[in-house]
Every structure is written in structure tokens, then in C-alpha cells.
Amino acid sequence: MEAASVPAAVTKEKVAKARPKPPKVKTPWWMWLSVAAIVLFCLFPFYWLINISLKTGADLSSADIVPPNPTLDNYTSIFQNSSFTRALSNSAIVSLTTTLIGVIVGSFAAYALARLKMRFKFPLLALVLSITTFPQIAIAAPLFRLWSDIGLYNTLIGLVIPYLTFALPLSIYILVSFFKEIPKDLEEAALVDGATHFQAFRKVVVPLAAPGLATTAILTFIAAWNEFLLAFTLTSSQNARTVPVAIQQFSGSSQFEVPLGTQSAASIVISIPLILLVLMFQKRIVAGLTAGAVKG
């Protein structure tokens, strides 16, 4: 029962008038120079990784900016290594499962926290979020004992569960703020239009919160894909070993040789899905941050 607000069209016009187009300023040369320096600084380690992955044998100890005898030998060899391919599929299963469950459970929980009238809502959210502040190392050892006792040690599900405990709080936190921004009227309109509560959630709320869901999905996936400490503590064989652990356990041709080349190649390979994922969803994320996807 608010008093009449200003119609959207008028507001937009006023804003447009109040903010004249900024005059085009030519970007000064030093700006470009600093941008180039920052990009170089950020990307050089990754370039060095590529550099090493293309070298074999004695070249590995060289510091050439361009590999003297570039070869793809390292790449072919890691794909012939069954422990790597197995670990790759383990990682995929663990990460995707964590992401899927995380997004579904997280969105349900976040929706409840955003919409339901209940007491202790804020303390509950704070409690959930506080879990993310635990140092992982603090739970690694107890989990190892517990998982050994109940038979989850060295299983994929034994990894998914602890990953979820870290992924869910953040997902919930992000999604709560997304859901809160969606006007309640939209759900009520859907209810009056003949939707069940779940249909209103699925057909109106979820599509509008899609940028938030995409963001949480990517963050969860990246965290699970890259996780090392728990994967190292809670696995013992190829059955459940994920890629970061598998790479660490690569062996050289002799006891004294560090398998630098193959490790680098493997690191490059496992970076690719993440890069693809971010590129794919980039538009969604950016759109969610800027365009105001929930504007009525």
C-alpha cells in the first residue's frame, strides 16, 4: 500500500539526462604499459608451466624463454599412464557430484532462509557461514579416523561429503542474497496463476536466480576439482585418487629424477576444463552482476 512511485520510464529518462556522455579521453600510454605489466605478471607462471611441459630430458633444466626442442611427448605419456586417466575420471565424478548436490541442496536451503518467516534466521546463516572459516587441516586427521572406521576411507563418496560441507555454506550465502532480490510478488503471481509452490520455485525463481546458480556451481566445481589436502589424506589407491594427488605421485624414470615435464603437462591438462567453464559461463556471471536480471 505504498504511495505511487515514479514510473520506470520517467526515471530512466531522468537518469539519462542527468548523466551526459563522458567526453572520450585517450588512454595514456603509461596506462597501457601498466596493464601489460600486470597481465604479464599474472600469466607468466602459467606460460612457464606450458614451457616446461613442452621440454624433456636435459632441456628441463634450461631457462630458455622458448623451449629449444618443443615436443608433445609429455602429453602422450601422461595419457598412457592409467593412474592419471583414472584419476581424471575420479576427479570429474567427485567434482560434478559435489556441484550438482551442492547447487540443489544449497538452493533449497537458501530459498528457505530467504523466504520463510522463522526465528534465529541470522544466527543460523552465520553458523553455516562460520564453517568455511575452519582450517581444513583441522578436520583432515579426525575425518581420516572416522572414515576408516565407517568404511568411507578411499571412496569417492568419502570425498564428496567433506567437499559439500565446505561448498554448501558459500553456495547458500550467495544464493540467499540472490533469492532475496527476487520480488515476492512474482511468486505470488505464479501461485495465483495456478502454480504449486514448487512450480513457482522452479519456473519463476530458479530462472531468475540463474546467474547466482551458475556462480555457485562454478565456485563449487573449481574448489572440488582443485582440492588437494583432503584428497591426499582420505585416499590411498587409484580407486579414489583425484588428479591433484595423482600428479603429486607421478614418478620419474629414476629415483633421483623429478618428473617435472609430465607434472607440468598434467597440470595444463587439468586447467583446461576450468578455463572452458569460466569462459562458457562468463556471460551469465557478468550479466547477473550488471544487468539486474531480477528487475521487474
Binding site: A4, A189, A190, L191, V192, D193, A195
Partner: protein, 395 residues
Amino acid sequence: MAEITFNDVWKRYPDGFEAVKEMNLEVRDGEFMILVGPSGCGKSTALRMIAGLEDISEGDLVIGGERVNDLEPRDRDIAMVFQNYALYPHMTVRQNMGFALKLAKVDPAEIDRKVTEASEMLELNQHLDRKPANLSGGQRQRVAMGRAIVRDPKCFLMDEPLSNLDAKLRVQMRTQVARLQRQLGTTMVYVTHDQTEAMTLGDRVAVMRAGLIQQVDTPKRLYEDPANLFVAGFIGSPSMNFVTGHLEGNAVKTPFGEVPLGDETVKRLRAAGGHKSRDVIVGVRPEHFEDAAIADPALPHRMKFKAKVDIVESMGSELYAYFSVQSEGPESEQLNELAKDAGMEDLPSAGTGQQIVARLDAASRATPDQPLEMVLDTSEIKLFDPEGGRSLTRA
């Protein structure tokens, strides 16, 4: 199509606040019923109870002969237009309008036919494939109406559908809503805080205050025969003037002079049990004053008086003359609430006395700061009980 009946309906919130109290209202089949009142009077809550978005604490709500208290919104077959339209931003106009039918699993060809039909009625044909974000305020409003129309529901519920439009568009849409309702003949319950909308649109209007229905009647009868001070002050623009007076025999002493009461008024006073020596609040509509220089002297029930005009506002077709009379402002809880709703509670009154507005003919020579002789139509004055605000002159 259906009638809607409230039987002793209450709405209590967990914190004990009673938004709607003992509501009894019957909306007839095909009727255009308006719920009007200031902010927080419970009108939107009442509407949301019909929609099923708000639980009913007590009493029965009957739509089309069926008690719907415990039915989910989707089972009530009603359509609602929200104040901010609540269009689904991720759907095109076509999808927005067809959403309800799609949920009801109506044949796609049939959905398409109905959406096209409604969009023609609302002149939305060119915009069917656009998203709500790219529409103007007026277009969004029409889409919201279209979404309700395609349903062909038992009744329409409108929650201040025009309040987000600018003044000119609002008048335009107002006539369109009225035409639409006549055309469809569907029962409609329309909530507004704007008394002009209420007066122009409704078959009948229910005036609400603090969760209680004050009066349900046709706009004309609400205006001419208000049940209490609140209705009298709320309906009409500029609103009715109130001054204190004292009833003595067949005349009432007012700041304008001693007003003799007509036989009809005395009869009504008797019927209301108010015919005795007592204080009253006198209500006079602005149009019942006239410049004595142009008033027809032959008309009966006219009383002349003089007042110094403070301000004159010319509307072209008529003049509003503001003047003060020596009177203490009548004290009444209902009038205070009206003033509060209009945002005038803290305004200092102009000088001493009570400000009165008179609507005079455009030919009047009223000038600011000059005395003017006016006539008052004594047959049209209303008397109210200062205690409780009940009208003492109801027909």
C-alpha cells in the same frame, strides 16, 4: 463468474495486529466492487485473502457458493493484477500471458488463440515477443491485465493497478479498466487508496478504515449520504468542510451564522435520535457555497453570510475560494486520521480559526484579501455526532 461473500472474516497477525476485523461484504456476480481507504486500512489484506495469499484467521470466505478458506490460490480460479504488475522478467509478453494456461496444460494452439485475442483487446499485438524490461509502464500494466484476462477466471482482483502510472496515463487506463469490466462482465474486486478511482470505477464502493468497513454503497450515495465523518471526509475532492456547531431546536449555530434546518433534516435527525440540544460537527461540501452576486435569489434554503477570502484558485471552469471562520477545529479521531493520511497533521492552520474551501462559479468576482458575500445551501448540510462521528442526518 461468481459472487464473493465475506462472513465475519478476521485477519490477525501473530503479533496480535488485527488487519481486518469482522468483515461482512457481499460482492455480487458481475459486480465491480471497490475497496478504498487510507494506507493500512486492511483493504489489500482483504484482497489477498480472496486470492489465497493470506490466511483467514476467522470467518468464512465464499466464492461462487464454495467455502475457499482452505483452498490454495491455484484452486480458486481467480486472477490478480499486482500493484507493481509482477510480470515474469525472463518471459516474453506472450509467455507471460500464456503462463497460467500452460500450467493448466491447455492445448498450445488454444493458448495462442486466447493470448492473441487478449492482446488485440489491449493493443499489445506488436509487443508480444518483447520482454517486460523493454516495455513502458503503461504497456507493462496492460500485460498484467492481459495475463488476468486470458484466464477467463471467476473473478478479477486488482491491487492498486494504476498507482504506478503517471497522472495522465492513469486517467486513460481508468477508462480502459471500466470498459474492460463492462465488456467481460466478470466480477471484479479493485483495491485503491484514490477516492477518484473509487468514485469513477465502481458499481459499489466499500470504504474501509482501520480494518473495519465503514460503508458499502454506490459512489453517488456515498457522496450524498455518508454514514460517518470518515466517509464524508474521505470521499470527495476537495473534501468536505467540517466546523463545530451547536444544535438548538430546529436550528444549528455555526460559524457561518444560525442555520435553520429544513423539515426533511429535522425528520432525519429525529429518526437518528439526535434531535436535542447538543454539540454537533457540521459538514458542508465546497459546492454548496456560492457567490451571492451570481446565486439565483429565488432558490429556497439559502443563507447569506460574509467572509474574508484568503486565497482564490482558478480552475478555469470554477473557482476555489479559501476563507477562515471563527471556529475551533472539530476534534474527532476519524478526522485526525484523515488528516494524517493526507500528510497534513503537522501543517499549521492558516491563522486562527478553521479553513474552509468553497467551490464558486467561474463568473465569481472573489478576490484574495477582500470580503465576499456568499450563500450556503442549508438543505445540504450534514450533521455528525462528535462522539464516534456517526451521521445524524442519514436518509
